[in-house]
Symmetry: D3
Subunit: 131 residues, 6 copies
């Protein structure tokens, strides 16, 4: 259970419903997932978060599948269960293969490992790496 209730369509304000409808239209689905229904207790926070997510995750210099995998990488390091599940599902929906998933896991595991080693060693940064 969440720390707040999940707002159903029937109890949503017009402002909230407009966001829900845009989520549905953008994704081509009838489904509005739990994150948005929990966030809807604060309509302004809901609207701002959705508007920004829609913009950031759109195709650009990086393709949407790469963006989903980057999202998973951050969420794994932060241990965000819901985020890992929802973005892994999204990455699959955008074509992530089992081989790509395996390599994603391997890179995450490697990065976690060397993050720990570097942290323990407090390795000084070379000037050549700096901008």
């Amino acid at each position: 259970m969440a720390t707040v209730s999940l707002i159903g369509d029937e109890e949503a304000s017009a402002e909230v419903l407009a966001v829900f409808d845009d989520i549905r239209a953008t994704r081509g689905t009838d489904y509005v997932n739990n994150f948005w229904r929990a966030l809807a207790h604060d309509p302004a926070l809901l609207a701002a978060t959705w508007a920004r997510l829609k913009d950031v995750m759109a195709p650009g210099a990086l393709d949407p599948l790469v963006k989903e995998m980057l999202y998973i990488a951050v969420s794994v390091a932060n241990g965000c269960e819901y985020c890992i599940h929802s973005h892994t599902a999204a990455a699959r929906a955008k074509g992530m293969t089992p081989e790509q998933h395996g390599e994603l896991l391997a890179v995450i595991g490697m990065a976690m490992q060397t993050n720990g080693l570097v942290s323990a060693l407090q390795v000084p940064v070379e000037d050549s790496f700096r901008a």
Copy 2:
């Protein structure tokens, strides 16, 4: 300064030098960066870490630039200064454009933000997201 000294070539054992030489050959450079020189106090740990990194970061189902960006994403979430600098430099060497860097930052920022919102809300995972 690190918690250990950095091992120079002149004080390196044969086992350590073999790793340093493979790093140079694999990367086509004379330079061995500080991380490996700090790790070299434990030759077995050095050898195992390098062997694994070389394997994980090689081209595969994901291209090397995507792997570097995933590495950055994890390192940013963990706040690993050295890792962020070295892998940002590596990503640039592999062709990351300023536009791609900007989108990488935007996705990381977005993921951090929703990780925090989801954590605060403790959003329950939909069954439809589970494998």
Copy 3:
């Protein structure tokens, strides 16, 4: 399930019961929550933790509701499920309104986002910010 059993009143030592009783008296409730019952396997750790918490969370230069919200902020960044639930409940008991909760979430989300951006950019600290 926890990594240890939860200690009920009937199996608690006199030292543990004294802490449980002080928790009840301080909070004006009959209920002793699971955290303390898990911690009670080490009576000295239980007593030291409770004594310190009671002192730190008491009214002072910051009011108790602000302290609860700060507690939530730290717990969210650390992803501590139990802590988020228990301190959100405590904040509500101390008068946190839905509007305050919404703003708390917005600040946490913003801080997470800029923490990630700053980490990725490794922004140098201005001298003017230092004590």
Copy 4:
């Protein structure tokens, strides 16, 4: 040094300068701090981040000093050096007293400690804490 250069006014585009000017006007200062100058390599990211920060940190149901302290709490848990320095300076500018700073530290320390204990014990959440 950052992973990117810091954009000075003289090299800033009109879009970036408009954000810098709004930062100066909003804060009543001539100074634009390093974070914004690093972020300015991506004008759209700069503009979106500043617009959101300005909105989130404005007075509302929580007062601006409380928001700064919440920002510090998240940044400390994430270990973001720049963020801790800049928001501690901001909190002082908004009136944080040494006594309030001391209590802020004490609450953060306590939350970190019990986050660790709860995590180690994997304490199950009571139904009574759930929304």
Copy 5:
């Protein structure tokens, strides 16, 4: 539920079965735990991870129980539920007493607390601490 299915013996490839068999032989048990069954979707990642874990956790300059407790300490700080449960069970199987568990918790809690205080204070490192 995991983000992938758990691979049973009957659906495992020869390469995966060889790892499962080595896990059983090394641990003197018939049981292969869920982590390995989830990881088995990528046989190379499974084999590399198991080979490294087996080597790292073997008796050496540190005894196996100390290694398990170190593993718990890292997993607690990262909030990894499965890791905390599995390594707490492993530590008990290797002889961890309730008194040792209590002291492990106390050290973790203390470290979390001072990590937070040091982070908030941004304490400069003494030269005398550096290698």
Copy 6:
């Protein structure tokens, strides 16, 4: 530089000096390290933190060197630079050998790696691991 000044003996109150003197006496040194001098702005927080640290790190069911290594493990996962330096120095002062340091690093690296893999896979906890 810290977010606060470091309190020297000459400006310390009697309450603070008593803690500094106990640190010196307990450790058999004239040196009071920066952490305590930063914390001394809040004498009550200083006294409570030192009293607890002294108690937790004393010999008990775990030996002091093991406790220092556990402290390092937590501090590495949290990326606390000062804590890593000071407790690595303390571990060496208590006899940590280079071989033990190497194994400590290897265990931390392994734990970080599998924490990441488990988080990405969201592996369900076996009932047999629960208390």
